[in-house]
């Protein structure tokens, strides 16, 4: 009898052990793999073409990766909370078009109008979240519908051809230099640090983890569930709006399809970074690694003269492989073999 109890006891202890260890190993492993892959790619690219693998390419990757790193924060939070945000194309375009249409090049107005643009994007995220929580529409349907509604409204608003130029602030954000460093790189580093603090060290971040793991358990534990489920969508939409403004500053104008190419990479970055697509697991630093890896790959592919289609195929295959490798069962199996 006592023997039985003791056995059960050790079994419990073991089960607990596996869980924490698996969690640690899973996230460290994927983050480390992504980082090593990035360095290998950059160094390896040197052998392919001498123009690659230089410090200036690193700078290019960081500037081009700016958009994806910012987007993957919002997308990562939404996926962490157990959802999926397919509204990015619409909200990115909304940010870009409002920035050129409302703000334009007028300098003084930019300081109070740009936050208004971000707030407008946040409202789109809020509507998505309310539809998902109150009306119980599946997240991907709700956000897909919102993206199409926003895109179509913008099409009507601009009569098919967006006008206006990039605000001065947005241009400075993407093309300026501070202390010899490009401004986007400095902003990017600040954003990553703040994003990491928010997701992994703040109360709100913990709430989102709790909601993504188990909504009912989170509710019982006293987590403000509704708020914690709305927050990721609003943050994601605002990140997308910010990217829209940055894109306008980078390319000096808005187009109606400017957001289309960023939806799938944003999900890919989060998944490659080791987040569970089912929510509750993942770190922002992992997503940042995923975003940088994808951007590095993109610059190498285009430097080698491959076409966009091939790049899409490679990106899709990476997502598929990442999803296959990061399945829960596989990690459990690996762990049991090591035991």
């Amino acid at each position: 009898m006592t023997n039985d109890l003791r056995q059960a006891d050790t079994r419990f202890a073991q089960a607990g052990d596996t869980r924490t260890s698996a969690k640690v190993s899973r996230e460290t492993i994927s983050a480390a793999t992504v980082a090593v892959l990035c360095v290998l790619l950059l160094v390896g690219a040197r052998f392919v073409s001498p123009a690659l693998g230089s410090w200036s390419q690193v700078e290019t990757v960081l500037i081009l990766g700016f958009f994806l790193v910012v987007l993957s924060f919002g997308q990562g939070l939404v996926i962490l909370s157990g959802g999926l945000d397919l509204s990015l194309p619409g909200t990115i375009t909304l940010g870009g078009i409002l920035a050129t249409g409302w703000v334009g090049t007028s300098d003084p107005a930019a300081w109070y109008l740009l936050p208004v643009v971000l707030a407008a994007c946040g409202v789109v995220g809020l509507i998505s979240a309310l539809g998902i929580i109150w009306l119980r529409v599946p997240p991907f349907i709700m956000t897909m519908a919102m993206s199409i509604i926003v895109a179509s409204a913008l099409l009507g608003y601009t009569n098919g051809s967006p006008r206006g130029a990039a605000p001065y602030v947005a241009v400075a954000l993407m093309k300026g230099h501070v202390l010899g460093m490009p401004v986007p790189v400095v902003v990017l580093i600040c954003f990553v640090v703040l994003g990491w603090l928010f997701q992994s060290r703040s109360v709100f971040g913990r709430y989102v983890y709790a909601v993504g793991t188990n909504v009912e358990a989170a509710r019982i534990a006293g987590v403000p569930v509704t708020f914690s489920r709305i927050l990721p969508y609003v943050v994601s939409a605002m990140c997308a709006g910010f990217v829209g403004i940055a894109l306008v500053g980078y390319s000096s104008g808005a187009t109606l399809r400017m957001g289309d190419d960023y939806l799938l990479p944003s999900i890919a970055a989060v998944v490659i970074g080791g987040s569970s697509i089912l929510g509750g697991r993942g770190t922002y630093l992992g997503s940042v690694g995923g975003a940088i890896l994808l951007t590095t790959l993109g610059t190498i592919i285009s430097a080698l003269g491959f076409e966009f289609g091939l790049r899409t195929i490679i990106e899709g295959s990476i997502v598929l492989v990442a999803l296959l490798l990061l399945r829960e069962e596989l990690f459990k199996k690996l762990w049991s073999i090591r035991r």
Binding site: L84, G131, L135, R136, V137, P138, F140, I141, M142, M144, A145, M146, I148, I149, A151, S152, A153, L155, G156, N159, G160, L264, I267, V271, I277, L278, E307, F308, G309, L310, R311, T312, I313, I314, E315, G316, S317, V319, L320, L323, L324, R327, E329
Partner: protein, 303 residues
């Protein structure tokens, strides 16, 4: 119910455009709706089995560019073309089935990845919109049989008829069973992995047909031809009253849902709403349809 909505909408359309009653206008309406109707029919299969299939957009784009870049003349060429389309769909569907049924990946994630890859292949085959679909396909598949029956309508009718036959088989019932409750389906001795795999493969074949009909209608190639049909296919399925939680619904209702969506576009256009805003109404229709079907199923469960 969905048929009722269609009749009301159609009456409104005829009231606005009396010419809509002519045989050629009816055929045009059928031609417009056929690709979406087929896409929705395939989507309905997957949704009934409790899954989502985003690869529909990729398969349709892939079939479209294939037909536009490698046109084959004459009825024989059309036959080979339609077989190629169905084979493409079958292949992609089988990959989806492998990922979702055998490797147990989440359906949205797996089909999202296959959709990206298909879109990439489509872009490699054809970089920018262009190319011409074989004349025979473009003419005959959008024409009328004996000057009365629209061929596109016939194709959709055949798919629905085949489904009505399949539905009576063990496989057909198993699709509903695993959608309603996979565990109890498995406990009652069904090979759920096999059924789920075949569901995705079958859906892929129907998407291939949708790609074929879309190519016949547009007569040209576009590497992103399937993208607009992605959201609309879900909207059509939801409008048709198929529960997105799986286990309930049908193909015919989804086909009618697709017809309503396309007719809605025509009615809006003839009411003078700028075509720019079509997306606003379609997106709203999607959300409304999902909410309504959710409310109806909850009322049904409460009874």
């Amino acid at each position: 119910m969905i048929v009722g909505i269609y009749v009301v909408l159609y009456a409104l359309y005829v009231y606005q455009q009396p010419r809509a009653l002519s045989a050629s206008a009816i055929a045009a309406l059928f031609n417009n709706s056929a690709p979406l109707a087929l896409a929705a029919a395939g989507q309905a299969l997957v949704v009934i089995s409790r899954g989502f299939d985003l690869s529909v957009a990729g398969v349709i784009s892939l079939c479209n560019v294939t037909l536009a870049v490698y046109p084959m003349a004459g009825p024989g060429g059309a036959l080979i073309s339609v077989l190629i389309c169905m084979a493409i769909g079958l292949l992609v569907g089988a990959v989806n089935g492998l990922l979702v049924a055998v490797l147990r990946m989440q359906s949205i994630a797996a089909t999202l990845a296959t959709m990206i890859i298909c879109q990439g292949i489509a872009l490699v085959i054809l970089k920018a919109p262009g190319g011409t679909v074989a004349d025979w396909i473009a003419d005959e598949m959008t024409g009328r049989l004996w000057n009365a029956i629209p061929v596109s309508g016939l194709v959709v009718a055949i798919v629905v008829a085949v489904w009505l036959l399949i539905r009576r088989t063990n496989f057909g019932m198993a699709i509903y069973a695993i959608g309603a409750d996979e565990q109890s389906a498995s406990l009652s001795g069904m090979d759920t992995t096999r059924v789920r795999f075949l569901t995705y493969a079958l859906a892929g074949v129907v998407y291939g047909l949708a790609g074929f009909m879309l190519s016949a209608q547009t007569a040209t190639g576009n590497p992103t031809a399937g993208t607009p049909l992605l959201m609309l296919s879900f909207a059509a399925v939801a409008l048709g009253g198929t529960s997105l939680a799986g286990g309930r619904g049908g193909l015919f209702a989804s086909v009618m849902g697709a017809a309503v969506l396309m007719l809605l576009q025509k009615v809006l256009f003839s009411s003078g709403v700028s075509s720019f805003y079509t997306g606003v109404f379609q997106g709203a229709a999607l959300i409304l349809a999902v909410v309504l079907s959710g409310v109806l199923s909850r009322i049904g469960e409460a009874k």
